[in-house]
Amino acid sequence: MSIRKTLAAAFLTLSLTVSGMAHAEVIAARGVATIPVTGSRPKPEQRDQAIAKARENALDRYIAENNPAKQRIYDDARGSILSSIGEYVLGTTVLAEQTDTKAKTYTVTVRADINSNTLENRLSDSAGQSPAREGGRDILLVFVSRTPSSIQSFDDRVYSRVDNESEGGCKTKGDRKTSEGERVTNRSVSTSDNASANASYACKTTDITESGGSTTRKADKVIWAVGNSADFDQQITGTMADSGYNLVPAEYIEKFDLSAVRADYARDDELSQQTLRSTVAAAKAAHLTYIVLGTMTVEMPDRDPVSGNVRVFASINARLLDISGAFPRPVAAIGPVQYAGLGPSEAVARTQATTISAREVAKVLLDRLAVKGVR
């Protein structure tokens, strides 16, 4: 019986391990390390040492591509993570090796295959975020999705003016000479005459043209339609719940006027003072201490010039407020950031844009909450 139980346990462990490995998200990161050597090539132990350093460098570089909040969490836990690096780096592949005999150094470049899920879980545990922990913080989620129902574009108003001025004059000059003569002799009388004329004519004109004008451009007039943000809410709620936070949809809060929030965002990019105050008051009345306020603006679809798919951009603006004190205090601000989704149809592309946006927003919120010690 005990053998059967042992085998069953082993099988269960193996299957869980395999399934875990099958669903691990493996991210490739590259690292480089240089060590001093004496000879023309490194000794085997020196090479191993360099590869180990390069592997750590790869992990550091991977974290360096994350937001500052995550880097801070990693910095705090770096020592313990590196001491058990084998749990997070599944494999190391050497890409290039070089020995510089003049500088007496050996440089190796590696690619480290990082189990990003395991690493993220480790960082979450360091930050006190865990799906298994009880008493996770309740956070009010107020997110509005809007799309432009119409966009009126205006042609440029062009005003142009041309002033013409011309001046000129003509001069004429001329003279005429005549002469007559008469000769009288005993036998005859003769007369003569002579006439000559000179004339000159000169004209000069000057035209001056001045032109100018102005062009007036008018911003597009956009009428927003507030839509359903269920896809976004679901994605962000699930991601936050995985770290032990409970996002409370606004619909469940008594005395909370969601329609006022939607009406404000349909007109403008900000909530009115009255709506903001009433939102905070309703949240406090429900004993909530944090609010996530934000908009997701889904733009008009266009055609991706590369793949030919429909493309939809989503712009995100969000802020996390701490309302535990007398006045709301901003804890984190996200955006405006844009994410694009592609798909064969507008619906698919919009879903992709929504999913990507929600995932990225949740990541930043979690990291900011961890740094602030909100658990």
Binding site: A22, A24, A96, P305, V348, Q352
Partner: protein, 391 residues
């Protein structure tokens, strides 16, 4: 550098032999490959510019009808893998193979010979197999099809279109469907690569840029993307390695992605490669080599500079200029040769020969076609070692 005359029908036949005469893998594959049909290895917005006649013929036939014809053809020939026209699903940890007949560009060439006009239409493409899990091209078999006809007068646009119609839809041995059938029956899936390689930079020198415009080879930007795609294809097919695509295009991001039910495959984020290839087209050159009463002989040369580098350590495995030329004879009775298609053919020949010469090593070719000559063999050796690590 000098190659024998590539009389077009012979070139197509020789080419097809090169691509098909591959031994079948000794490890039979039971992999399922989803069939995406006919696609374009160019941006969606450039299709009508780069392949005006082909796209028109396919649209007139009906894209879905044409896809169906290709699928029936694919399943009628022996193939190592199981071709499926259904929808696949991308699952974590498992490869998701999708294949398509993707065309790159078309070339229309009219040559006057005596009192007749020779019309030659050529279509360059690849039989691509792409793994949406690793985001890499796991197999690429070049597919070149050509049709030649003679006319008593300068062919009209309708006659040219009809020639493309016969090339695309016809049953001729050199036609697209026949070449596709050969490619499908010879195509194999390579083993997974342990390292990845990608053409990350593709540029035209100032001289080449102007030449591309003057030779009417297309817009400079589209030609730049086009040559990167061609080099990637040749590397995959000749060296049997997985290559990350140079860029997304209508085939990968549109037509092939549509064969998987996951919505996120449309956002094709190509991962960073382990090794990068930087390609520069330096230009083309035409040289008169013979001038006799019967006609003139020219060599059309293509010149590229290629660098293979590991980006983080900046280790350079290969950096050299490669040059290849093709001969072309202009009979005394013929009109002037249309240089553009011949130069393009020279470039295609360069990519094919170069990728062939990597392994097995062809030192003689390297000494003849790579500059500087003194380091040609050693450069190819370093490149070969790098490519070997990618298998």
């Amino acid at each position: 550098m000098l190659k024998g005359a590539l009389a077009s029908p012979l070139f197509v036949a020789a080419y097809a032999a090169t691509s098909v005469a591959e031994p079948l893998s000794d490890s039979p594959m039971s992999e399922e490959i989803y069939f995406a049909g006919f696609a374009y290895l160019t941006d969606y917005q450039d299709v009508s510019q780069r392949l005006p006649c082909t796209s028109r013929v396919v649209n007139d036939t009906g894209a879905q009808i044409f896809d169906r014809q290709l699928f029936e053809l694919a399943t009628s020939v022996p193939c190592q893998a199981k071709i499926n026209d259904g929808l696949g699903t991308l699952k974590a940890g498992r490869a998701a193979y999708v294949t398509a007949l993707a065309v790159n560009h078309e070339i229309t060439d009219v040559e006057r010979i005596g009192n007749q006009y020779k019309l030659s239409v050529t279509l360059w493409g690849q039989l691509l197999v792409f793994d949406f899990q690793s985001k890499s091209v796991v197999s690429s078999t070049p597919v070149v099809s050509q049709f030649i006809d003679l006319f008593d007068t300068d062919p009209t646009e309708d006659e040219i279109l009809a020639a493309y119609g016969r090339l695309v839809n016809g049953e001729d041995a050199g036609g697209l469907k026949s070449q596709f059938a050969k490619a499908i029956s010879g195509s194999i899936l390579p083993r997974n690569s342990s390292r990845t390689i990608r053409v990350t930079q593709s540029t035209l020198s100032e001289k080449a840029r102007q030449q591309v415009i003057d030779l009417r080879l297309g817009g400079a930007e589209t030609y730049t993307a086009n040559i990167a795609s061609r080099l990637s294809g040749w590397l995959t097919s000749q060296q049997k390695i997985c290559v990350l695509p140079a860029a997304s295009n209508q085939a990968l991001g549109g037509k092939m992605a549509a064969r998987l039910s996951n919505g996120d495959v449309y956002t094709l984020n190509i991962p960073a490669p382990d090794y990068e290839l930087h390609l520069t087209l330096d230009g083309f050159k035409k040289v008169l080599v013979t001038d006799v009463p019967a006609g003139k002989g020219y060599v059309y040369g293509a010149f590229v500079t290629l660098m293979a580098v590991e980006p983080l350590s900046a280790t350079r495995f290969f950096e050299a200029q490669i040059r290849v030329g093709v001969k072309r004879t202009q009979p005394a009775t013929a009109s002037e040769i249309n240089d553009g298609p011949v130069f393009d053919e020279a470039l295609q020949e360069l990519f094919m020969e170069f990728t062939q010469a990597i392994e097995p090593a062809d030192d003689a070719w390297a000494r003849q076609n790579i500059l500087p000559t003194q380091t040609a063999v050693s450069s190819m050796q370093a490149l070969r070692k790098m490519i070997q690590t990618c298998r």
